[in-house]
Symmetry: C2
Subunit: 340 residues, 2 copies
Amino acid sequence: MVEIARRAGVSTTTVSKVLNQRPGVGEKTRARIQRLIEQSDYVQNHAARHLRKGRSGLIDLVLMRLEGGYDLGIMQGVQEVLEQSGYRLVVFATNEDETTERLWLRRILDQSSDGVLLLLPYERVGIADTLLEQGIPFVAIGDRNEPTTAFPTIGSTIWLGGYTATEYLLSLGHRRIGIITGPLHLTTSRARLAGYREALEQAGIAVDPALICEGSYLLGDGIRQTEALLDLPDPPTAIFAGNDAQAAGVYQALYRRHIRIPEEMSVIGFDDVTYSAHMAPPLTTIRQPLEEMGRMAAEMLLRLIAGQTLETHHVELATSLVIRESCGPPRQGPLGRGNS
Amino acid sequence: MVEIARRAGVSTTTVSKVLNQRPGVGEKTRARIQRLIEQSDYVQNHAARHLRKGRSGLIDLVLMRLEGGYDLGIMQGVQEVLEQSGYRLVVFATNEDETTERLWLRRILDQSSDGVLLLLPYERVGIADTLLEQGIPFVAIGDRNEPTTAFPTIGSTIWLGGYTATEYLLSLGHRRIGIITGPLHLTTSRARLAGYREALEQAGIAVDPALICEGSYLLGDGIRQTEALLDLPDPPTAIFAGNDAQAAGVYQALYRRHIRIPEEMSVIGFDDVTYSAHMAPPLTTIRQPLEEMGRMAAEMLLRLIAGQTLETHHVELATSLVIRESCGPPRQGPLGRGNS
DNA sequence: TCCACTAGGGTAAACGATAACTCAAATAGG
DNA sequence: CCTATTTGAGTTATCGTTTACCCTAGTGGA
């Protein structure tokens, strides 16, 4: 910059003014400097600006683990918005490890982050509280915990999703519907289950506790719990998998037992992650608009950073039923095991 | 920091020395300051350190698109290493858009990045050249282009992978093996094909050009090209899918036509991304050690940043055959279409 | 013609931390 | 007991930009 100022025969102040498009520079001087800047391969030093202006141009996305499902959809949405805004996206995985979380938190507090997107159950190590205290703008995505008004959150109509999924299966004629939930200490898991219950009740069907299995949103749970369901004396004719990862597990367990989808067993997922359309048969699922959620979250955060106030603190996007090919009418009679 | 210095009755210099664990401070003074630091909630200002020390603590990972397959595996490996090293990972997707790429490049050059991991065909907009020119350390992952000695690269034994995949199918008894390659302008795509050719030749089988289809590593290509292969007068008994995403496409096309895997058609993938074990049936594939590659790349980059020289400029990790359940002996006779 | 005002542009002080250098006191050796 | 050496700690310049403030020359009005 000094170099440019020298060549233009002006002070760095003037060059700075030109760079930041502020008034106080004559038309021809401005043009001259502008040209010089373009000719040279000068780039503003990030650190110096950061130091002086107090903005790092960085936004942190914290998540527990890079999994390629739910998280990826969100990331894509976030990426999209940030890319245009000039902010850069820092990704951090905590691995659910407290030490790592605290480490990250310390690093956030050094003012190297202009804002944070939380993709965590925010009970963890008081992250939310700390951020709040320190006045660092943040938005929590996917209400993994109790609703709150203390900070902005983005979610989707989970309860409705659970209801819709169950209702759809009912409409196909199913009466015994298994459900594999997520960890029941999470609000979102309970919301799905509540939707499921409500739909059954409205159809006048008693809820059979044996058909309710708890998983932890991992593929392995899908496998295990499906086996449990199949081993029931009166197994279900359809399984609501809680999320798409577990649905993949369901697929696998069914494949092992040579049970065809959807002829012998209907499967419905939740999330609509990228790969759910890739499964064979393509998975019918409840779509959470993940990218849209990521976009919204990023936009809200940017507004927060800009010092604007948000109209709404909690945004809830609509889930929707995506019908593909994993659901059909219930089978008649018992499961034909081993009819490969 | 000034505050701490004041409270300890020393100068900021001394505090700085304590913080950075440098000599020149008395034992008791050091202890006193240390305690004060711990009591206060002081965190070093990132920008100032960055400005003074010339290191931002940031590493950029550039890729074309967040897809959740190949890229994700690499990211996980990178994450793992960086987490421990104290560097933060910035993720940037170019979307294959030149403007976006240039934008990113400009931002890199402002010295806000200590190093770059390139997950791109590096022909693009002379990224490699620019980085080289500017003296920014970087490592290219996954040799999408010609080998080079100009900068460090990490790859895997692709040719061998192609060879092994084909050989495995041959060993099962297959004689007509379809292959869906990636874009043939990429070295890695050609390497797979070359391995395939070599294996066939060694088995004394003539290469049938009709069995070679070009895709672009996307799921859709898998579907399309599988259909093309199935519509051949003499369709193959096995398909080598080029990568796992295309394999998912193959699965889907076969599902549509009610062709069972592996009874009627064997399918083998390439990459061994996270979801390939989740497919039904679990996909037999050639494993690229993606996480390992990510880790290696990150480690090499860190060494480069630390100013150390690398022993080897090009690292090639071993691919391996992962046998799951999508391959079997060839079917006898023609494809039984529609035997649901 | 003189004064007040404005626009263009410069000066210098931050921003927060680090590091080269300096200085004073304490220690050890003769 | 005095000097040489070590050790602990402070001074000050610096990293590259921005910005509050100041100055000067030109303009317009009275």
